[in-house]
Protein backbone atom coordinates (compact mmCIF):
# COMPACT_ATOMS: atom_id res chain seq x y z
CA UNK A 1 0.00 0.00 0.00
CA UNK A 2 2.83 2.39 0.80
CA UNK A 3 4.40 1.54 -2.54
CA UNK A 4 1.19 2.55 -4.27
CA UNK A 5 1.36 5.97 -2.64
CA UNK A 6 -0.56 5.57 0.61
CA UNK A 7 1.94 7.15 2.96
CA UNK A 8 -0.29 6.53 5.98
CA UNK A 9 0.37 2.81 5.56
CA UNK A 10 4.04 3.36 6.43
CA UNK A 11 3.48 3.45 10.18
CA UNK A 12 1.75 0.05 10.46
CA UNK A 13 4.48 -1.35 8.23
CA UNK A 14 7.37 -0.25 10.46
CA UNK A 15 5.76 -0.39 13.89
CA UNK A 16 6.66 -4.08 14.45
CA UNK A 17 10.34 -3.15 13.99
CA UNK A 18 10.23 -0.04 16.10
CA UNK A 19 12.02 -1.57 19.08
CA UNK A 20 14.26 -4.11 17.29
CA UNK A 21 15.56 -1.36 15.03
CA UNK A 22 16.46 0.87 17.96
CA UNK A 23 18.03 -2.07 19.81
CA UNK A 24 20.17 -2.83 16.76
CA UNK A 25 21.24 0.80 16.48
CA UNK A 26 22.01 0.87 20.21
CA UNK A 27 24.23 -2.20 19.98
CA UNK A 28 26.06 -0.78 17.02
CA UNK A 29 26.59 2.66 18.51
CA UNK A 30 26.62 2.01 22.30
CA UNK A 31 24.85 5.29 22.83
CA UNK A 32 21.12 5.90 23.20
CA UNK A 33 21.05 9.35 21.63
CA UNK A 34 23.10 8.26 18.68
CA UNK A 35 21.04 5.10 18.35
CA UNK A 36 17.90 7.22 18.17
CA UNK A 37 19.43 9.35 15.43
CA UNK A 38 20.56 6.26 13.51
CA UNK A 39 17.15 4.59 13.79
CA UNK A 40 15.33 7.79 12.82
CA UNK A 41 17.52 8.33 9.80
CA UNK A 42 17.16 4.68 8.82
CA UNK A 43 13.37 4.94 8.91
CA UNK A 44 13.35 8.15 6.91
CA UNK A 45 15.74 6.67 4.37
CA UNK A 46 13.61 3.55 4.17
CA UNK A 47 10.54 5.67 3.51
CA UNK A 48 12.28 7.60 0.76
CA UNK A 49 13.71 4.43 -0.80
CA UNK A 50 10.57 2.30 -0.65
CA UNK A 51 10.30 2.36 -4.43
CA UNK A 52 13.62 0.52 -4.58
CA UNK A 53 12.63 -2.12 -2.03
CA UNK A 54 12.83 -5.64 -3.42
CA UNK A 55 9.59 -7.23 -2.22
CA UNK A 56 11.08 -10.72 -2.45
CA UNK A 57 13.31 -9.79 0.47
CA UNK A 58 12.55 -9.59 4.18
CA UNK A 59 11.49 -6.05 5.05
CA UNK A 60 13.10 -6.40 8.48
CA UNK A 61 16.45 -7.34 6.98
CA UNK A 62 16.22 -4.48 4.52
CA UNK A 63 15.51 -2.06 7.35
CA UNK A 64 18.43 -3.47 9.35
CA UNK A 65 20.70 -3.05 6.35
CA UNK A 66 19.83 0.64 6.12
CA UNK A 67 20.40 1.09 9.86
CA UNK A 68 23.75 -0.72 9.74
CA UNK A 69 24.89 1.47 6.86
CA UNK A 70 23.80 4.59 8.68
CA UNK A 71 25.61 3.51 11.87
CA UNK A 72 28.73 2.76 9.88
CA UNK A 73 28.65 6.14 8.11
CA UNK A 74 28.34 7.86 11.45
CA UNK A 75 31.12 5.78 12.94
CA UNK A 76 33.43 6.75 10.09
CA UNK A 77 32.54 10.41 10.40
CA UNK A 78 33.07 10.30 14.15
CA UNK A 79 36.40 8.53 13.74
CA UNK A 80 37.58 11.18 11.29
CA UNK A 81 36.43 13.97 13.58
CA UNK A 82 38.08 12.33 16.56
CA UNK A 83 41.35 11.95 14.66
CA UNK A 84 41.20 15.60 13.63
CA UNK A 85 40.54 16.67 17.22
CA UNK A 86 43.37 14.52 18.52
CA UNK A 87 45.72 16.01 15.98
CA UNK A 88 44.65 19.49 16.99
CA UNK A 89 45.02 18.75 20.70
CA UNK A 90 48.21 16.72 20.50
CA UNK A 91 50.24 19.30 22.41
CA UNK A 92 47.63 19.87 25.10
CA UNK A 93 47.74 17.85 28.35
CA UNK A 94 45.29 14.94 28.31
CA UNK A 95 42.02 15.49 30.08
CA UNK A 96 38.78 13.57 30.20
CA UNK A 97 36.27 15.66 28.31
CA UNK A 98 32.51 15.43 28.42
CA UNK A 99 32.55 13.00 25.48
CA UNK A 100 34.68 10.53 27.38
CA UNK A 101 32.39 10.86 30.36
CA UNK A 102 29.40 10.18 28.18
CA UNK A 103 30.99 7.07 26.70
CA UNK A 104 31.81 5.74 30.13
CA UNK A 105 28.32 6.46 31.30
CA UNK A 106 26.76 4.78 28.29
CA UNK A 107 28.77 1.58 28.44
CA UNK A 108 27.02 0.00 31.36
CA UNK A 109 25.39 -3.16 30.04
CA UNK A 110 27.27 -6.45 29.92
CA UNK A 111 26.48 -6.85 26.27
CA UNK A 112 27.83 -3.45 25.34
CA UNK A 113 30.95 -4.06 27.40
CA UNK A 114 31.48 -7.38 25.65
CA UNK A 115 30.89 -5.82 22.25
CA UNK A 116 33.51 -3.18 23.04
CA UNK A 117 36.25 -5.78 22.54
CA UNK A 118 35.25 -6.18 18.90
CA UNK A 119 36.34 -4.24 15.87
CA UNK A 120 33.66 -2.35 13.89
CA UNK A 121 33.04 -5.05 11.28
CA UNK A 122 33.25 -7.88 13.82
CA UNK A 123 30.68 -6.06 15.89
CA UNK A 124 28.31 -5.51 12.97
CA UNK A 125 28.63 -9.12 11.87
CA UNK A 126 28.10 -10.48 15.38
CA UNK A 127 25.10 -8.27 16.10
CA UNK A 128 23.39 -9.08 12.82
CA UNK A 129 24.21 -12.79 12.72
CA UNK A 130 24.12 -13.85 16.36
CA UNK A 131 21.84 -11.35 18.04
CA UNK A 132 19.45 -10.52 15.20
CA UNK A 133 19.76 -13.97 13.64
CA UNK A 134 20.21 -12.99 10.02
CA UNK A 135 21.81 -15.79 8.04
CA UNK A 136 25.30 -15.48 6.58
CA UNK A 137 24.03 -14.49 3.15
CA UNK A 138 21.69 -11.82 4.48
CA UNK A 139 24.38 -10.50 6.82
CA UNK A 140 26.76 -10.19 3.89
CA UNK A 141 24.11 -8.42 1.86
CA UNK A 142 23.26 -6.07 4.70
CA UNK A 143 26.88 -5.13 5.23
CA UNK A 144 27.83 -5.03 1.56
CA UNK A 145 30.61 -7.57 1.93
CA UNK A 146 31.25 -11.17 0.90
CA UNK A 147 30.09 -14.28 2.75
CA UNK A 148 33.75 -15.15 3.25
CA UNK A 149 34.37 -11.82 4.95
CA UNK A 150 31.33 -12.39 7.18
CA UNK A 151 32.60 -15.84 8.19
CA UNK A 152 36.10 -14.56 8.93
CA UNK A 153 34.83 -11.70 11.07
CA UNK A 154 32.20 -13.84 12.76
CA UNK A 155 34.78 -16.43 13.72
CA UNK A 156 37.07 -13.77 15.09
CA UNK A 157 34.21 -12.08 16.97
CA UNK A 158 33.07 -15.31 18.63
CA UNK A 159 36.64 -16.13 19.63
CA UNK A 160 37.18 -12.69 21.20
CA UNK A 161 33.83 -12.75 22.95
CA UNK A 162 34.44 -16.18 24.40
CA UNK A 163 37.74 -14.93 25.84
CA UNK A 164 36.15 -11.74 27.14
CA UNK A 165 33.34 -13.63 28.85
CA UNK A 166 35.71 -16.14 30.38
CA UNK A 167 38.12 -13.51 31.70
CA UNK A 168 35.96 -10.51 32.52
CA UNK A 169 32.36 -11.69 32.93
CA UNK A 170 32.43 -14.78 35.12
CA UNK A 171 28.73 -14.47 35.86
CA UNK A 172 28.00 -14.82 32.13
CA UNK A 173 30.53 -17.63 31.78
CA UNK A 174 28.94 -19.53 34.63
CA UNK A 175 25.47 -18.78 33.37
CA UNK A 176 24.35 -16.80 36.39
Amino acid sequence: MVLSGRTEAFEPLVTPYRRPLLALAYRLTSNREEALEVAQEALLRAFRSLARYDVSRSFRNWLFQIAANEARDRFRTRTREKAALENAARDKPPSAGPEAGRERQEIRSDILQCLAVLGPLEREVFVLRDLEELDIKETARALGCSSVSVRVNLSSARRKLREAIRNDFPHLWEGR
Binding site: T7, L22, R32, L36, S109, I111, R151, R158, R166
Partner: protein
Protein backbone atom coordinates in the same frame (compact mmCIF):
# COMPACT_ATOMS: atom_id res chain seq x y z
CA UNK B 1 41.12 -33.49 10.00
CA UNK B 2 43.56 -32.42 12.73
CA UNK B 3 42.67 -30.79 16.07
CA UNK B 4 44.55 -27.68 15.03
CA UNK B 5 42.45 -27.23 11.92
CA UNK B 6 39.23 -28.06 13.75
CA UNK B 7 39.92 -25.50 16.47
CA UNK B 8 40.08 -22.82 13.80
CA UNK B 9 36.67 -23.85 12.53
CA UNK B 10 34.94 -24.40 15.87
CA UNK B 11 33.65 -20.80 16.29
CA UNK B 12 31.75 -21.15 13.01
CA UNK B 13 30.73 -24.73 13.70
CA UNK B 14 29.16 -23.57 16.99
CA UNK B 15 26.65 -21.48 15.07
CA UNK B 16 26.18 -23.93 12.16
CA UNK B 17 27.83 -21.43 9.87
CA UNK B 18 30.22 -23.75 8.06
CA UNK B 19 29.60 -25.01 4.56
CA UNK B 20 27.94 -28.46 4.68
CA UNK B 21 31.01 -30.43 3.58
CA UNK B 22 33.27 -28.80 6.19
CA UNK B 23 30.58 -29.12 8.83
CA UNK B 24 30.41 -32.87 8.28
CA UNK B 25 34.17 -33.20 8.59
CA UNK B 26 34.36 -31.08 11.74
CA UNK B 27 31.49 -32.95 13.39
CA UNK B 28 33.09 -36.27 12.58
CA UNK B 29 36.28 -35.13 14.28
CA UNK B 30 34.53 -33.55 17.27
CA UNK B 31 32.53 -36.70 17.93
CA UNK B 32 35.75 -38.61 18.38
CA UNK B 33 37.85 -35.94 20.14
CA UNK B 34 36.89 -34.97 23.75
CA UNK B 35 39.09 -31.84 23.78
CA UNK B 36 37.54 -30.40 20.61
CA UNK B 37 34.07 -31.44 21.76
CA UNK B 38 34.62 -29.53 25.03
CA UNK B 39 35.76 -26.44 23.17
CA UNK B 40 32.78 -26.60 20.84
CA UNK B 41 30.43 -26.84 23.84
CA UNK B 42 32.10 -23.82 25.44
CA UNK B 43 31.55 -21.78 22.31
CA UNK B 44 27.94 -22.88 22.11
CA UNK B 45 27.36 -21.96 25.74
CA UNK B 46 29.05 -18.58 25.50
CA UNK B 47 26.98 -17.73 22.43
CA UNK B 48 23.81 -18.91 24.07
CA UNK B 49 24.50 -16.92 27.25
CA UNK B 50 25.30 -13.79 25.32
CA UNK B 51 22.07 -14.13 23.43
CA UNK B 52 20.09 -14.73 26.59
CA UNK B 53 21.71 -11.71 28.21
CA UNK B 54 20.98 -9.61 25.13
CA UNK B 55 17.33 -10.63 25.14
CA UNK B 56 17.02 -9.91 28.84
CA UNK B 57 18.81 -6.59 28.56
CA UNK B 58 16.82 -3.44 28.90
CA UNK B 59 17.37 -1.80 25.53
CA UNK B 60 16.10 1.71 24.97
CA UNK B 61 12.73 2.28 23.36
CA UNK B 62 11.19 5.29 21.66
CA UNK B 63 9.04 7.53 23.75
CA UNK B 64 5.58 7.88 22.24
CA UNK B 65 6.34 11.52 21.46
CA UNK B 66 9.53 10.66 19.60
CA UNK B 67 7.80 7.96 17.59
CA UNK B 68 4.80 10.13 16.71
CA UNK B 69 7.06 13.00 15.66
CA UNK B 70 9.15 10.70 13.47
CA UNK B 71 6.13 9.16 11.76
CA UNK B 72 4.59 12.57 11.19
CA UNK B 73 7.88 13.77 9.70
CA UNK B 74 8.22 10.74 7.43
CA UNK B 75 4.62 10.81 6.22
CA UNK B 76 4.69 14.60 5.83
CA UNK B 77 7.85 14.50 3.76
CA UNK B 78 6.36 11.69 1.70
CA UNK B 79 3.32 13.80 0.89
CA UNK B 80 5.50 16.74 -0.08
CA UNK B 81 7.52 14.57 -2.39
CA UNK B 82 4.40 13.02 -3.89
CA UNK B 83 2.58 16.29 -4.39
CA UNK B 84 5.68 18.06 -5.60
CA UNK B 85 6.41 15.29 -8.03
CA UNK B 86 2.87 14.97 -9.38
CA UNK B 87 2.13 17.67 -11.95
CA UNK B 88 -1.59 18.16 -12.14
CA UNK B 89 -1.43 19.93 -15.53
CA UNK B 90 -1.96 17.84 -18.64
CA UNK B 91 1.29 16.31 -19.84
CA UNK B 92 1.29 18.28 -23.06
CA UNK B 93 1.31 21.52 -21.08
CA UNK B 94 4.16 20.51 -18.85
CA UNK B 95 6.74 21.38 -21.48
CA UNK B 96 6.77 24.78 -23.19
CA UNK B 97 7.51 23.37 -26.65
CA UNK B 98 4.59 21.00 -26.52
CA UNK B 99 2.37 23.76 -25.20
CA UNK B 100 3.33 26.05 -28.10
CA UNK B 101 2.81 23.25 -30.62
CA UNK B 102 -0.60 22.48 -29.12
CA UNK B 103 -1.70 26.11 -29.32
CA UNK B 104 -0.53 26.34 -32.91
CA UNK B 105 -2.35 23.12 -33.81
CA UNK B 106 -5.58 24.35 -32.27
CA UNK B 107 -5.25 27.69 -34.08
CA UNK B 108 -4.67 26.03 -37.44
CA UNK B 109 -7.58 23.67 -36.89
CA UNK B 110 -9.89 26.55 -36.09
CA UNK B 111 -8.65 28.47 -39.13
CA UNK B 112 -9.39 25.54 -41.43
CA UNK B 113 -12.84 25.01 -39.93
CA UNK B 114 -13.59 28.72 -40.20
CA UNK B 115 -12.62 28.66 -43.85
CA UNK B 116 -14.64 25.54 -44.54
CA UNK B 117 -17.86 26.86 -43.10
CA UNK B 118 -17.50 30.47 -44.06
CA UNK B 119 -20.31 31.66 -46.36
CA UNK B 120 -19.23 31.70 -49.97
CA UNK B 121 -16.14 29.72 -49.36
CA UNK B 122 -17.80 26.38 -48.93
CA UNK B 123 -17.66 25.34 -52.49
CA UNK B 124 -19.32 26.71 -55.46
CA UNK B 125 -21.21 23.86 -57.05
CA UNK B 126 -21.70 23.19 -60.68
CA UNK B 127 -24.80 21.14 -61.22
CA UNK B 128 -25.09 18.43 -63.79
CA UNK B 129 -28.01 17.96 -66.07
CA UNK B 130 -29.59 15.63 -63.54
CA UNK B 131 -29.45 18.40 -60.93
CA UNK B 132 -26.63 16.89 -58.90
CA UNK B 133 -23.39 18.83 -58.56
CA UNK B 134 -20.69 17.36 -60.82
CA UNK B 135 -17.79 19.50 -59.60
CA UNK B 136 -17.17 20.98 -56.18
CA UNK B 137 -14.72 23.81 -55.66
CA UNK B 138 -13.19 24.54 -52.31
CA UNK B 139 -11.55 27.89 -51.64
CA UNK B 140 -8.97 28.13 -48.90
CA UNK B 141 -7.92 31.60 -47.79
CA UNK B 142 -4.94 32.32 -45.54
CA UNK B 143 -5.93 35.02 -43.10
CA UNK B 144 -2.35 36.03 -42.56
CA UNK B 145 -1.12 36.37 -46.15
CA UNK B 146 -4.41 36.68 -48.03
CA UNK B 147 -3.32 33.85 -50.35
CA UNK B 148 -6.25 31.96 -51.87
CA UNK B 149 -6.20 28.41 -53.14
CA UNK B 150 -9.14 26.85 -54.90
CA UNK B 151 -9.43 23.08 -55.04
CA UNK B 152 -11.70 21.38 -57.56
CA UNK B 153 -13.16 18.00 -56.64
CA UNK B 154 -15.55 15.79 -58.60
CA UNK B 155 -18.74 14.33 -57.22
CA UNK B 156 -16.74 11.48 -55.71
CA UNK B 157 -14.51 14.02 -53.92
CA UNK B 158 -11.52 13.11 -56.06
CA UNK B 159 -9.15 15.97 -56.62
CA UNK B 160 -9.36 17.45 -60.11
CA UNK B 161 -7.09 20.47 -59.92
CA UNK B 162 -6.35 23.73 -58.13
CA UNK B 163 -6.07 27.42 -58.86
CA UNK B 164 -4.01 30.06 -56.97
Amino acid sequence: MTCRKVKKLIPLCAGDDLRPRLMTEVRAHVDSCPACWKELEEYRQSMSRLKTAANAENVPDWSEGEWRALMAHAIGSGREVREGGMDRRPAFLAQPRWAAASVLGVFLGLAVLTMLFKDGNLGQRETSAAGEPSVVSLTLVSQETGLQVVWFLDKNFEWKGDKN
